[in-house]
Amino acid sequence: MTVAAGNPRLLLVGLVIFMALIGGCGSTVTPTPIVFKDPLPVDPGPDVGGLALQEQIFADGQVTFDEYERAYAAAVQCMRDEGFDVEGPLRYPDGYLVVEPGWDPKHWLSSRAHVGDDPNDRYGDVNARCQAQWSYAVGTVYRQQFQPSEADVQAWLERAWQCAREKGLQVSAPPTVDEAMTAVTFGCRPWEIA
């Protein structure tokens, strides 16, 4: 995907992302055991912050899945550095299935944290901070190249509703987005149908 510098919409997204990154934490990250297919032009090494990593990733105007996975791995490592037991990055169909009408879940990586019973929900704060610092911007730009059109979304929903009917699930008239999402939890895969 090319990040067009002349595109006002992309510039706005970039500004929002930059503002989000300013609030990120300043901790460092250690190397992860993930092996990446496409090395960065210059590997930033283990001691640079999230902004430096993202500058490397955005340098050629493209964000590949490999680069997204690298940024996500850094976010996961950030959470581990905070003391949490986190599995990831997990690729579809492992981990969590992230479903949004019109989208293919394979464009999302996920992580699974063993949090136990923490009434203070410290993990929520750490998760949000590490994602903002390391992976949010890269993931957002990576997925932008797959943004579905309104027609794509509608076709996705129609396939989900049809599958729901075939499974005997309730589909009202007119059908709802919730019913399409429920169809997915019952095994419908509207993103896989040609």
Binding site: Y96, V98, V99, E100, G124, A128, L169
Partner: protein, 132 residues
């Protein structure tokens, strides 16, 4: 009286059908909202659900009034009390975002939800159908 065996058979069959889990009987779902997050320009209403359907835990945030620019969901599930962290919708105009635990036999413990209003692009306070 001649029809009694037939009636008994029919009653037995009806009872069995009622006891069989139908496709829509996917387990209890906890719902919350709609919650309203607004400013003087826009209103984002969103709702949240979590539960277990077809042997998998899920959490879902729905754009209730169509006025939310983005949505986020977070799931806590058993066994093991695992946390998905925040999962946010993509850049398209979303109707819903859902996170499903791929672990068969997983059950939802709780969920958290947020909606983004479309004027300042700010996130709502965190909402939850039940205490996290």
């Amino acid at each position: 009286m001649r029809n009694l065996p037939v009636r008994r058979t029919a009653a037995l069959a009806a009872t069995l059908v009622m006891l069989l889990p139908g496709p829509a009987a996917g387990g209890a779902v906890s719902s919350g909202g709609p919650w309203t997050y607004s400013n003087q320009y826009t209103t984002c209403q969103f709702s949240g659900d979590h539960g277990s359907q077809s042997n998998h835990a899920f959490a879902r945030t729905t754009n209730y009034n169509g006025g939310c620019k983005a949505l986020a969901a977070r799931l806590k599930s058993n066994p093991g009390l695992f946390d998905s962290g925040w999962v946010e919708s993509g850049l398209s105009y979303p109707g819903a975002i859902q996170v499903v635990d791929s672990l068969a036999g997983s059950t939802a413990v709780s969920s958290r939800h947020r909606g983004m209003e479309s004027w300042w692009n700010s996130w709502s306070p965190v909402k939850e159908p039940h205490a996290w």
